[in-house]
């Protein structure tokens, strides 16, 4: 990174409980609830806010364009500066980083990032069709029009390349749904077994219903501030230590077959015969991690990160992402989860909240939700917000949040650090 600008802190957050459908409130009211929770938590008022970023993915789901400004006026933030940021499934992560940039640049002393999505206004299969419109509509959408199918092809290639098994995929589902039993915000907490995952209806081979996240209604809010404002408004802020963003081709078919982008703890000899990224790995995830680690000064991610909240829209993508983030080498992701290294009390807790698989995935809110859960972890206030301290990772110092758009087209990685 050329110039990191001013230090940026997260000082508060709020999340609504994600649900399959919440018709009693629209996206504005949901966002308002998360917003008020965040403001009340630190005793802020509207006058403490310099501007905002609106995070939402699809105009199709509600057939309402410019939803951002409707949230902005409902929250009472007009005429302050604001903009919408959109990048598929990574919308939340990109918006959060846009908020960080507003503060880092010195333009704003405080910035609110609010995210929402209302997916219940169409049926699940129409929803899948809308999501599939976020693939190339000339070449990919007309063939199958189904994102789970695209990820499933990546999964079969990962299995072929590295010997990853469907049971290893299922272990991710068991872990994340299990963690969510202690997260009151989660949409689908479940105590399940590997057999339950494999026996649930096949969606797209090898991914079953329990390998895939659900659509949701939800909202989440993160409040960011510069150092002066952060310590004035909050007695326990969390530092945004580094950010990274990567991209890759829209079409899976166009992904190159070249050399691995190496992290500091890897060498070329680790990957002599691996063609990269192909469709087995997310090059954008690796690029995002590399930039984030560089700006945060991380050289050994597994040792230096205590918690990771990553974008597990599919169990297979969690395994692929362990590798992209350098928590293990490419090809070792299946063993990583199998050996319990990603468990709550493992080497690094991955998705202690339950992740997308169990919390739900109201797209524009998802990446902000990860930031809020990570913020509470690093503040060590999980008990206060969850009314349950099971998921609190003791002595957690540093965490990474990871947001990801369709087949790894946009990926963000943000490193957050406790200051207390």
């Amino acid at each position: 990174m050329k110039n990191k600008g001013q230090d940026v802190y997260m000082i508060s957050g709020g999340v609504t409980k994600f649900t399959k459908a919440s018709p009693e409130a629209d996206f504005r009211l949901r966002t308002k609830k998360a917003f008020d929770y965040a403001l009340n938590d630190v005793g802020m008022t509207l006058k403490d806010i310099d501007g905002s970023v609106a995070s939402y993915f699809s105009d199709h789901f509600q057939r309402q364009l410019m939803s951002g400004i409707m949230a902005q006026d409902y929250l009472g933030l007009t005429p302050k500066p604001s903009k919408r940021v959109e990048g598929g499934g990574a919308t939340g992560g990109l918006s959060f980083q846009a908020g960080v940039e507003e503060v880092a640049s010195g333009r704003m002393n405080t910035c609110v990032v609010y995210g929402f999505e209302t997916m219940s206004h169409v049926n699940t299969w129409k929803g899948n069709e809308f999501i599939a419109l976020a693939s190339d509509t000339n070449f990919d959408y007309p063939i199958g029009g189904f994102y789970t199918g695209y990820y499933a092809m990546m999964a079969t290639r990962h299995m072929h390349e590295f010997g990853t098994t469907v049971e290893q995929l299922a272990k991710v589902s068991v872990k994340n749904h299990g963690n969510a039993l202690h997260n009151p915000y989660a949409q689908s907490p479940m105590k399940i077994t590997v057999e339950d995952v494999r026996n649930s209806p096949m969606v797209s081979y090898p991914l079953t219903r329990l390998d895939v996240c659900a659509m949701s209604d939800g909202a989440a809010v993160a409040v960011l501030a510069n150092e002066e404002k952060a310590f004035e408004l909050c007695d326990n802020p969390v530092l945004i230590k580094g950010i990274g963003t990567g991209t890759d081709t829209m079409r899976l078919a166009d992904r190159p077959h070249g050399k691995v982008i190496l992290l500091p703890n890897e060498s070329e000899s680790d990957y002599k015969n691996l063609k990269y990224p192909g469709i087995h790995s997310f090059r954008a995830g690796r690029s995002a991690a590399k930039e984030a680690y560089l700006s945060a000064g991380i050289t050994d991610p597994l040792e230096e990160l205590d918690i990771v909240e990553l974008h597990d829209a599919y169990t297979s993508s969690e395994i692929q992402t362990y590798e992209d983030l350098g928590l293990c080498k490419y090809g070792e992701g299946g063993h990583f989860v199998e050996e319990g290294k990603a468990d709550l009390k493992g080497k690094v807790a991955v998705n202690p909240s339950g992740g997308l698989l169990a919390c739900g995935h109201p797209v524009g809110a998802t990446g902000i939700m990860q930031a809020v859960f990570m913020f509470w972890q690093l503040q060590r206030t999980i008990k206060k917000h969850f009314k349950d301290e099971t998921l609190q990772i003791n002595n957690a110092k540093r965490g990474l949040i990871h947001s990801h758009a369709g087949t790894g087209t946009y990926v963000t990685a943000t490193v957050m650090e406790a200051v207390k």
Binding site: R63, P142, I143, G145, M153, T156, D254, P256, H257
Partner: protein, 162 residues
């Protein structure tokens, strides 16, 4: 100029479909026809009628794309059309039991990414004439073409090589 205090909207019998009263949930219908141009990709779709799959070859660096694009991602130069072989191998596969609404009535169907000898990138398509358990990575497959075109990429599909 008209000033008519007795003006009144004409009543209709259309009504509205109501799903719930509290909160009030109603049906809202929407449909649209687009005038969609394939633009610089047009030749690909026309060639399917000649039983040819056209990829792109970079005029400068020689990179060959199995899925066409007007300009090269490697060097930024213009590409030219490149006729792909009608036989290839499965690079990855899946069977979809669900799908977007528009495709639900076609499930289950198989998706494949196809690799061609000497070509640098892949091509997404469907394969028929096999069950999931018959599919494997590296399986030799052959392109077939619709006789009556739909002018979308489903005009080409694959079958197992005899």
């Amino acid at each position: 100029m008209t000033i008519n205090p007795k003006a009144k909207l004409e009543e209709t019998q259309d009504g509205t479909v109501v799903y719930n009263f509290d909160p009030l949930i109603v049906k809202s219908h929407y449909e649209i026809d687009y005038v969609h141009s394939y633009a610089q990709d047009s030749e690909f779709f026309k060639a399917l009628g000649r039983k040819e799959i056209l990829g792109s070859k970079c005029k400068k660096c020689g990179y060959i794309y199995a899925t066409p694009r007007g300009h090269c991602m490697e060097c930024g130069s213009e590409t030219e059309w490149y006729k792909l072989p009608n036989e290839g191998k499965i690079h990855a596969y899946t069977t979809c039991y669900f799908g977007g609404e528009a495709f639900l009535n076609e499930t289950p169907f198989h998706l494949v990414l196809v690799e061609f000898e000497g070509v640098d990138s892949l091509f997404m398509s469907r394969i028929i004439g096999v069950d999931t358990e018959d599919l494997y990575i590296g399986m030799p497959i052959r392109a077939k073409f619709r006789r009556n075109l739909k002018l979308n990429p489903t005009d080409v599909y694959f079958v197992p090589k005899a």
